[in-house]
Each structure stands twice: as structure tokens, then as C-alpha cells.
Amino acid sequence: MSSSHDPQLLKGSLSLLLLHLLAEKESYGYEAAQRLQAAGFADVLEGTVYPALTRLEREGRLATRLVASSSGPARKYYRLTPDGYRALSSGTALWARHVAAVDAVLSRPLPDVPEKGI
């Protein structure tokens, strides 16, 4: 399977993406991974999402509750804490500034590309 996203970029933005998805709707681990994949991040493996959720929970940005499931063991649902909402807000602003700065550089016109061998 070819990777459609730079892993380093994904690593930097995964927490923000998860915070946003969980702010929209509380989800359990597999559901969050599914929603991330449905949003276009098809190459993000569940094995990356679960530890990222653990880290966010440890940092106090996510709270959890167990919900009984008819099809198996109880599922651990994640939702944002007030600290999580603050992190999402500041992270979104930071991301917007980062994208604007990168765009500003990438949109500058380039001089003519020299031909090969010259």
C-alpha cells in the first residue's frame, strides 16, 4: 500500500486531528481510527491511533468512560476535557499559522529551472 501522507507530517498533526474528531463526537479507539481513515487518512493504522489516544489521555486532554457493547467487551469511549478543548483551540491556531507561513514560501515564483547537464 503506498503512503498518501508524509509520516512525519502525520505524526505532528495526529493529536490535533484526533482532538478535533473527538470534539465532534466521542468515539472508542477503533471508531476514531475509522473516522480518521474516512477523512482521507487511509494509511493511518489503528496501531498508531491507540497509543496516540493513550498519550492524550495521560496529558489530561481526553477523558474516558466504559460503555457496554452487545457485540463484545466494553468499549472505552474518549471525549475532550476542558484542557483538551483549549489544546484543540491553540493547536488549530498554530496549525493555521504554520500552513499560512508554508504557503507564503511555496507560492513565491521560482526562477527558471536550469536544464539537466548545464
Binding site: 472508542y28 479507539g29 477503533y30 471508531e31 481510527a33 475509522q34 493504522l45 489503528e46 496501531g47 498508531t48 491507540y50 497509543p51 496516540a52 493513550t54 498519550r55 495521560r58 457493547s69 457485540s71 463484545g72 467487551p73 466494553a74 468499549r75 472505552k76
Partner: protein, 182 residues
């Protein structure tokens, strides 16, 4: 469409959960059990959706998953290992006892080989700094051993070795918090 998760599929899931659990022993017990339950529930849900093989593949293997969970819990960089500390604390005294016992037995065998009907008291000074002297009381070839206990130095070095081997200072909460924040 949800699929049935067969008994064999559940065993495959349990195999991964068990393998993951074995690699999370450095986590606090409650946290380890919580991870185990969560991964099991997620894998069951995924297996019902996309099939067990695909669900297991997308988790990426127990070793990589355990590594990421440990990093998520303790942060990047080197961390302590309760497993290594426990292995040192258990295996080193056992090994020392075995080798010192064998050495004393060799000394005893030397006494009885030289004279099978030996009578008298013999003293082996033992391994310096590690054990006290071992006294052999022989009567008509029957030998009893007294002594050979670990010295106080060993009882000081064992906890130090355990801490060093497991890098247990890294488990200190204030040090972990500082490293995570960096």
C-alpha cells in the same frame, strides 16, 4: 457489514493481546490491564468489520504497539525496566548461591577424596568480600558445612545492582514529568 468472529479468530486476537501484555510489564498493573482490555475490544470490533486478518494487520504487531504504548506513557527516550530489575534481583542471588555452593562442594570433595575416612575441621576462607568462611566438620568421612553466608557488602550491592540494571531512577515521577515536558 458486521461479520461473525469465530472461536479461532478470537484465539488469534487473544494471542496478540497476550503478546502485547507480556511486553507491557513495565507499565503499572492497572494501566496494563486497561490497555489489554481496550485493544481486545477494538480488535473484536475491527474483526467484525473487516475480518480478523485485516484487523490484526492494521494494528501493526504486538512489539510495535507495545513500544508505542510505552512511549505514550513514559515519553520518548530511555526509560526504566521493572522486568530487568526483577530479573537481576532474582537471578543474581540464585546464580551466586549456585556457584558458591558448587565451590564449597568442590572443596568438600577434595577433603574426602584425599582421605575417605577423614576426621577433623577444615576451613575455606570463601570468595573474598562475597561470602563468609565455610567450615567443614568431618567425622569418619561424613562432612557437614557451616558458614558461607553472603557478606553485608553483597546485601548492599544487590539493591544497587537492581536499581542500576533496571534504571529505576527513571521511574521517579518528577524525573518522568520533566522528561515528558522537554
Amino acid at each position: 457489514m458486521p461479520q461473525n468472529v469465530s472461536f479461532i479468530d478470537r484465539l488469534r486476537i487473544e494471542r496478540l493481546v497476550w503478546a502485547l501484555d507480556q511486553q507491557l510489564y513495565d507499565l503499572p498493573r492497572r494501566s496494563r490491564i486497561a490497555h489489554r482490555r481496550e485493544v481486545r475490544a477494538n480488535l473484536r470490533a475491527a474483526a467484525a468489520e473487516v475480518g480478523t486478518s485485516q484487523a490484526l494487520r492494521r494494528v501493526g504487531g504486538s512489539r510495535a504497539l507495545a513500544k508505542q504504548f510505552l512511549t505514550a506513557e513514559f515519553g520518548d527516550g530511555p526509560r526504566h525496566s521493572w522486568t530487568a530489575a526483577t530479573a537481576f534481583a532474582v537471578l543474581v542471588p540464585l546464580a551466586l548461591t549456585f556457584f558458591l555452593g558448587e565451590a564449597a562442594n568442590a572443596y568438600q570433595n577434595a577433603i574426602t577424596t584425599a582421605d575417605p575416612q577423614v576426621t577433623g575441621t577444615f576451613t575455606w576462607s570463601g570468595v573474598s568480600y562475597v561470602q563468609s568462611a565455610v567450615r567443614f566438620d568431618a567425622r569418619q568421612g561424613a562432612v557437614t558445612q557451616i558458614g558461607g553466608a553472603f557478606t553485608p557488602l553483597v546485601y548492599i550491592l544487590l539493591p544497587i545492582g537492581t536499581i542500576v540494571c533496571g534504571r529505576l531512577w527513571r521511574a521517579l515521577p518528577w524525573l518522568r514529568t520533566r522528561r515528558t515536558a522537554e
